[in-house]
């Protein structure tokens, strides 16, 4: 059911353009780096829905896919440049998130988890079976963006999405301290109490859902332009689970946890190449052991890492 993050496509090639010539890292590494940042953005977007607002979504890859397909079709079909097609991808994913989110959020907790999973299967089936979306062959011929009259190199592309990621993190910080952040926290902790205090539950849930979906759509746009061709299988249920695992592994609801999760679970399949045969097994066991013994995730408030940090670094530093 679950596969580790898809292999970076062997498109890299070392020294293309000036980016590669003085850059010390190879095409292979830059491919992994880009993949990890895209996963970090995705994990971060799911963290808004699941971590901040407390709504379990098992179908996040659907919105990732909607973004990727929108961007790819606007680029190859309508001939719009990257700089327009990717923001539009985020917009479309956000709108679809609102349309699907309103009926979804009528159902509660576990029903929501399975409904979102169902949406993922239906969206993947639509991509796969409607010829309009390219069917099983997917969509090809998408390129890296142009700037200053030439195509971007991979290291430049990496820097671009890294900047986007940092902006999103700053935005997250801002939101966390605003009324929206407080409302989300109250819904997450106790939905009934929040409702009794006059928090408009449905509205804030929909806001979280739309925002998370839109950011996932943005990540989808970046992904399409990076992979240069996309297929329905890239956006299946297994992908949703991979994203969810990154969030939970790093620490659900924390600001940096999803990023840490994306880095570790993104690098893991690469460094475990020598033990190819067992790597999915290790992936599963790691996930299981992590949740069983550190349910808050690596950066959760009760994890070994956080407690050690507090005891040996934070408190001594405070005392001085």
């Amino acid at each position: 059911m679950i596969s580790p993050p898809p292999q970076p496509s062997p498109l890299g090639g070392g020294g293309e353009g000036w980016g590669g010539s003085y850059c010390m890292i190879s095409g292979y590494h830059i491919t992994i780096l880009i993949t990890i940042v895209i996963y970090a953005i995705l994990a971060h977007s799911l963290n808004i829905i699941t971590g901040h607002a407390g709504q379990i979504s098992l179908g996040h890859a659907a919105f990732f896919g909607i973004g990727a397909y929108t961007s790819a079709m606007l680029y190859t079909g309508a001939g719009l440049p990257f700089w327009i097609s990717v923001p539009l991808a985020a917009l479309v994913a956000g709108i679809v998130g609102a349309i699907l989110g309103i009926p979804c959020l009528r159902v509660r907790d576990d029903f929501l988890a399975i409904t979102t999973m169902g949406i993922n299967f239906v969206v993947e089936a639509v991509f796969l079976y409607l010829p309009f979306f390219g069917g099983a062959m997917g969509i090809g011929g998408i390129n890296l963006p142009n700037w200053f009259g030439r195509e971007m190199t991979k290291p430049e592309y990496f820097l671009l999405i890294l900047v986007v990621f940092v902006v999103l993190i700053l935005l997250d910080r801002k939101l966390g301290r605003s009324w929206i952040g407080l409302a989300w926290a109250s819904i997450r902790e106790d939905e009934q109490a929040a409702g009794a205090m006059g928090v408009d539950i449905v509205r804030f849930k929909v806001v979280a859902f739309v925002l998370g979906s839109a950011i996932a759509g943005l990540a989808g746009g970046f992904y399409a332009h990076f992979l240069t061709f996309i297929m329905p299988q890239n956006f299946g249920f297994g992908q949703s689970i991979v994203i969810l695992c990154m969030v939970v592994f790093g620490g659900i609801g924390t600001r940096w946890g999803p990023m840490i999760g994306a880095i570790i679970l993104g690098v893991l399949p690469e460094i475990s190449r020598p033990i190819m045969e067992y790597r999915i097994l290790i992936y599963g066991v790691l996930l299981l052991a992590m949740m069983r013994f550190q349910p808050g995730g690596l950066l959760g408030s009760e994890s070994i890492l956080t407690r050690t940090f507090r005891r040996y670094v934070y408190r001594p530093w405070k005392r001085e």
Partner: protein, 285 residues
């Protein structure tokens, strides 16, 4: 033709019922989405097949498969779920996903990635009435499912343990204050639910004449859709939803020949029903 499709649909629906019932019982009592249930279903098939190859007697291998699955289900409950009950629901869900992945991989590594055949001689014989034809394995599925459903119904309504189990599903805390050993009830619940999944694994193994490492992948999510369709935790609703999904799949794909993935039918039915009944077919708010 119509009657034939009906028989096929009910046979498939019965297997879905066997898998989903365990899932809905677990949800009813612990409120956990037990994805690894499908791993236990595949484990049942493997244990059944192994014992069949060793002994050569089908009915005994069915029983051993069920027993193996029941033990596995019990271990999962004791060592993975119970210690996590006080945590947010997402923790057991992720554990379950991790466990399911690990189980599938273990099957692949231990038993090999190929499909293994399970050609058991059951000794029931085919049944033909006019143009209507039931194969031996379909009869087997219908008989075993019927027997298990009658057993389950009798257990839940006629025994004191069954009564305690239903009470736990309503309110575990109050039930424990009446002197019921809730932890034992949960264990019994897992034993029965997992044994049913194991039976389903063996039945599908014989029906398709193959057992393969990822045989749980499709049931893992389809059973969840069925359980939600029937109303999470609702036993009659789950049986009804299983038969409906079995029939819908056979009819939509078999007769109308809609070019749509068979496995998406359950989800479309689920989403459609949830629009009008947010708590499933027979569920209550």
């Amino acid at each position: 033709m119509l009657w034939q499709q009906l028989a096929n649909g009910i046979a498939i629906g019965s297997v879905y019922a066997l898998i989903s019932l365990g899932l809905t019982m677990v949800y009813g009592i612990l409120r956990i989405l037990h994805i690894a249930h499908a791993g236990i279903y595949a484990l049942g098939a493997y244990v059944g097949l192994l014992s069949f190859r060793l002994i050569g007697e089908f009915w005994l291998s069915l029983f051993i498969g069920m027993a193996g699955a029941a033990v596995a289900g019990y271990l999962v409950e004791r060592f993975l779920y119970t210690p996590l009950l006080h945590l947010p629901r997402i923790a057991p869900l992720i554990v379950s996903i991790g466990l399911f992945t690990a189980m599938e991989e273990t099957f692949r590594i231990v038993a090999g990635p190929h499909t293994l055949t399970y050609n058991a001689r059951i000794g029931l014989g085919d049944l033909s009435i006019g143009r209507f034809h039931l194969t031996e394995t379909q009869i087997l599925i219908l008989l075993v499912t019927l027997a298990i459903l009658i057993f389950l119904w009798a257990f839940l309504t006629k025994t004191r343990t069954g009564l305690a189990m239903r009470a736990c599903a309503q309110d575990a805390e109050t039930t424990s204050s009446f002197g019921v050993n809730v932890s034992a009830i949960i264990a019994v619940n897992f034993l029965i639910g997992s044994a049913m999944a194991g039976a389903a694994g063996v039945l599908i193994g014989v029906y398709d004449n193959q057992v393969w490492p990822t045989m749980g992948s499709v049931p893992a999510y389809k059973a969840l859709a069925i359980v939600v369709l029937g109303g999470l935790g609702n036993i009659p609703g789950t049986v009804l939803a299983s038969i409906i999904v079995g029939l819908a799949e056979t009819f939509f794909i078999g007769i109308l020949a809609i070019p749509f993935p068979r496995d998406a039918v359950a989800f479309i039915a689920m989403i459609f029903v949830l629009m009008f009944r947010p708590y499933g077919l027979l569920g209550k708010a």
